[in-house]
Amino acid sequence: MIVFQYFIIIFVTFLFQSWTSEFFSLGTIDPDFCLIVLLYISIKNGGLVGTLFGFFIGLFIDLSSGTNQFFGLTPLVYTVTGYSSAFLKGQNEKLNKLYFSSLWVFIILCQFLIFSLVVYQQLLVDEPTQFLIKWLATSLYTLVFLGILQIMVPLYKI
């Protein structure tokens, strides 16, 4: 039953991502709503659920729209993100709010960095500044949405 529940969440998140990313798109930069949901689920439910959720939603994304060149990259990156963010489970009681928040921001920046290093490797070689802009813009755009969510559902309190 729980597995089914998570598959429903994966499915809904995927639909939301595919239906709304065009609306929120800024040129070639789209917000990653799947990552936001993954972060919440990992921090709330821990490593097992976070890892599996990350793997399957990444797989779902790659199966639906991933390019053949990097097929398998999204499940890999989301798995790492789900696993690493799960370490923040229960840490809100031990860490202060700023430190806790800095950690999940760091995880997201790392996630986008890994993704960018693979996908935009040619850009990194040719124009490192453009690569930096691309990486930071993509990360920050998702972080903006995540920041807005902190007002309603703070990660620190889940």
Binding site: T51, L52, F55, D62, L76, T79, Y83, A86
Partner: protein
């Protein structure tokens, strides 16, 4: 074995992570596998099926905007079409004028109508040529479709033409092929009447009406119009012939002035 199982359960997070990583790398390194292509094809169909409602919703959402755009585009295209049609008509008229000028043996000068009906008592046209262009009073004005009047007042750079549609305009004409002659005057609605035509002459609808050449103003054989009706006058030895003028006075823009009719 039991210890291994306990170890795996205890470290299930890390174990699942390792398995997920393994599968992710497996996918990454087997992305060109044929079986993988089949699975991706199937998933693509599934996603396409799931995306269909979104496409419909999106199409509904943009239908108003698209409608507005298409209306504007339609208007623009209509205006362009009108402009093109006008240019085509103008081109045809100018070609006709050019052909007429090439073919005619008369010495003629092209002119443009710059105004219509300045004088209240005379149905007139104003041309953009005058005495500087060798224009004089009482010179025939015509188009390839026929006579439209004569010059009555000539300035240096413009001249006024008494139109065939003026009630006081008279023109000696010949009806072909019978050769009957008569005096033409304006009636109404692009129709003139020819009086003084002998009753015993055979005239039919569709006969051509040309200038007779009896006048010093109009050379002979200039087209005037087509017979559109023939009526006997009661108690008279003459008949009245209705003539349809081919020129459309509302749309004429360019004419010729015959400056020498020999």
């Amino acid at each position: 074995m039991r210890n291994l199982l306990l170890f795996l359960i205890k470290n299930k997070d890390h174990f699942v992570f390792a398995v997920a990583l393994f599968f992710s790398f497996a996918l990454l390194f087997n992305r060109n596998n044929d079986e993988m292509s089949v699975i991706r094809g199937f998933s693509s169909d599934l996603v396409s099926f799931l995306s269909t409602p979104l496409v419909k919703v999106k199409s509904l959402a943009i239908v108003n905007e698209e409608n507005q755009y298409l209306r504007e585009k339609n208007l623009q295209l209509n205006l362009q079409l009108e402009s093109i049609l006008y240019a085509a008509d103008e081109n045809k008229n100018l070609r006709d004028l050019l052909n007429f000028k090439r073919e005619t043996r008369l010495k003629i000068i092209p002119a443009s109508i710059i105004n219509k009906g300045i004088q209240t008592n005379v149905k007139s046209l104003t041309l953009d040529v005058g005495s500087l262009n060798n224009i004089m009073p009482n010179q025939a004005v015509l188009t390839p479709d026929g006579v439209i009047g004569k010059t009555v007042v000539v300035g240096k750079k413009s001249s006024i033409v008494q139109s065939i549609s003026d009630n006081n305009f008279r023109l000696s004409v010949r009806i072909m092929p019978s050769g009957a002659v008569g005096i033409l005057r304006w009636s109404r609605d692009n129709t003139c009447r020819v009086y003084e035509v002998q009753k015993n002459v055979d005239i039919n609808i569709g006969d051509r009406v040309i200038t007779s050449g009896f006048s010093n103003i109009y050379p002979e054989k200039l087209p005037v119009g087509i017979v559109s009706g023939v009526y006997d006058e009661r108690g008279s030895y003459q008949k009245v012939v209705n003539v349809k003028i081919q020129n459309d006075f509302e749309s004429i823009q360019n004419v010729f002035v015959v400056i020498e009719n020999k």
